[in-house]
């Protein structure tokens, strides 16, 4: 059995557990779930209809099986407010969250990795001090506050970027990117702080290894040594951290989407929670958890690929 298959199998209990948690969420609320869903618009007929629809009168484990079955056939339920299938809602919202997350990741990589490398190569220099400051402030600053400040400066005062709202690709790539600029910058800051620290320590460790001196003895120029060899060897801890931080990115997206009024999965979960729109909350949580699990799996596989020793066949 290859290590990939083994990893996939180990996921099963976690996925199972996740589905149980999400399922139980609705049932944790005191009172009748149907009542909770309908809220103030409850009518006896409406309540009966929902109870029948969701099978709320069945024993718990049967409900779970039904629900799970529906999931596998692609039925995530309906938004009881608008009667729109939840899958449709997710389909429009997921790309927005993904774009935000990816742009933030890109931004963080572009800033943090070169800074961290330079900080490691020139200890106690400007880059090193900047990295320390960024590392500390970045993890201490509330992201919603940072977002507000950025809007204050770049939007209200300087008028460079929109203060909120989403512009789909169809209306122009540039406008779309401009709308994502401040949100991505906000989210990227926290990630950069973690990344710059990890990069600096990983590169410092690699630089102290024997083979680096051997590379110098071969006459390689320092640029090649850093960019080819050091980065390759340091990338393992860096990539591992990115995978772990992806959860932070997804979570941060929830807040940032609220601040900047972006129609993503995060803001969907928040709005649905406030409206007690539980099928939507459940679906949103499932999607986010799944995404996170997938990213972690991907990171594990990438780690194994980058580290030849782990490819399952080393001496």
């Amino acid at each position: 059995m290859t290590s990939t298959v083994r990893r996939l199998l180990l996921l099963l209990p976690t996925l199972f557990g996740v589905s149980i948690v999400v399922f139980l969420l609705l049932r944790l609320i005191p009172g009748d779930p149907a009542q909770v869903i309908m809220g103030l618009r409850a009518t006896p007929e409406g309540l009966a209809a929902i109870t029948r629809d969701l099978g709320l009168d069945l024993p718990l484990h049967e409900q779970y099986v039904r629900w799970l079955g529906a999931l596998f056939s692609g039925d995530f339920g309906r938004d009881y407010r608008s009667n729109v299938p939840v899958t449709q809602l997710l389909a429009t919202r997921l790309p927005v969250t993904l774009e935000l997350t990816l742009l933030s990741l890109l931004l963080a990589l572009i800033v943090a990795v070169p800074l961290g490398v330079r900080a490691a190569v020139h200890p106690n220099g400007i880059a090193d001090k900047a990295a320390s400051v960024l590392g500390l402030i970045g993890i201490s600053i509330p992201d919603f506050w940072l977002g507000i400040l950025l809007v204050l400066v770049f939007s209200l005062t300087l008028g460079l970027f929109p203060s909120s709202g989403f512009v789909p690709f169809s209306d122009g790539i540039l406008a779309n990117l401009r709308a994502f600029a401040l949100p991505a910058l906000t989210l990227a800051t926290g990630l950069s702080a973690v990344l710059v620290r990890v990069t600096r320590s990983a590169v410092t460790e690699v630089l102290s290894r024997d083979f680096v001196r051997f590379l110098k003895a071969k006459g390689l120029p320092p640029r090649a040594i850093i960019n080819r060899h050091v980065l390759r060897n340091a990338s393992v801890p860096i990539i591992t951290v990115i995978g772990m931080q992806f959860g932070y990115l997804l979570g941060g997206a929830v807040i940032v989407e609220q601040v900047f009024d972006l129609p993503g999965v995060g803001s969907l979960i928040v709005t649905a929670t406030m409206e007690r729109n539980y099928p939507v909350v459940q679906a949103g949580m499932l999607v986010v958890a799944l995404l996170f699990i997938l990213v972690n799996l991907g990171t594990d596989l990438l780690y194994a690929w980058l580290n030849p020793r782990l490819r399952g066949g080393a001496r």
Binding site: V21, L136, W145, L152, I255, I269, T273, M285
Partner: protein
């Protein structure tokens, strides 16, 4: 000043970041504790003659759209933040430390049984869980604190477990086992004291995270509700008037930043401090 005294001043050691952090935390804790006594105004008293007024001698950080003093509300909001932080981390430790100890020391079946639910909780980004829980347990400070603690106790379990595994493999544990000591006794007297350092470091980092989490949840409206003041709530309220009254958003945010900064600085320096104390003990 005498020559001796001034030369002693010159040789004062430069404060470490950890000391600065601890000083900040202590200062804020005192402020929060004494909030009802030192705040210039009542947190709810409204002065409709001074609505949205900029910082002045009367109102050090200005007033909001109801004429309430920002500084006062910030002090009370700080209280809430600290209560949430300390409460949630304490809850996480109370549950997480024993579980992590057991998982790391006993291994095998116990380990698997404990870690599976832990893995499940960690499969969700923290805020998603808190949002969902907040929706279920509608907004009370106590329940919110517990919810935050619940979301973060897995981290404590993992760190405790890792440290416990390392320590359990040490020889002196073997010795205790050979002497017939019970498992509980070994865990409590031998494993725990030697494995606690990374957990304490993690806990202090968690305090900062908990403060951010409470502020974030309150900001989006799912945390504490008015009239309970919260720094996050102040930020979301102040956002609407940001263009005309920027001080409404600067003060509370700065408060959060400084508090978290203090905890993080303290946490960074904790390992060195604890190791030195450990070494002195041995």
């Amino acid at each position: 000043m005498s020559v001796a005294a001034s030369s002693r001043l010159r040789t004062l050691p430069k404060p470490t970041p950890a000391a600065i952090g601890a000083a900040i935390v202590l200062f804020l804790a005192v402020l929060a504790l004494l909030a009802p006594y030192i705040s210039p105004y009542d947190s709810e008293s409204m002065d409709f003659n001074a609505v949205l007024s900029p910082p002045s001698l009367a109102h050090l950080f200005g007033t909001d759209n109801f004429g309430r003093d920002v500084l006062t509300r910030a002090l009370f909001g700080l209280r809430v933040s600290l209560i949430a932080a300390i409460g949630s981390v304490a809850a996480a430790m109370v549950v997480g430390v024993p579980l992590g100890l057991m998982a790391g020391y006993r291994r095998g079946f116990v380990d698997a049984v404990i870690m599976r639910p832990v893995d499940v909780i960690m499969a969700f980004p923290a805020i998603v869980l808190v949002v969902a829980l907040a929706g279920v347990f509608r907004q009370s400070l106590g329940l919110m604190t517990l919810a935050i603690g619940f979301v973060y106790f897995p981290i404590i379990v993992r760190v405790m477990r890792g440290a416990a595994i390392e320590v359990s493999d040490a020889l002196f544990v073997e010795g205790a086992r050979a002497r017939g000591a019970s498992h509980v006794r070994i865990m409590a007297r031998h494993v725990l004291p030697n494995a606690i350092t990374p957990v304490l470091v993690q806990a202090s980092a968690l305090m900062g995270v908990a403060i951010l989490m409470e502020a974030a949840i309150s900001f989006i409206g799912l945390g504490v509700q008015p009239p309970t003041p919260s720094l996050g709530l102040m930020l979301s309220d102040g956002r609407s008037y940001m263009g005309d009254a920027p001080w409404l958003v600067i003060c509370p945010g700065l408060g959060i930043l400084v508090a978290v900064l203090g905890f993080n600085l303290m946490g960074d320096g904790l390992p060195r401090l604890l190791d030195a104390a450990n070494r002195r003990r041995k």
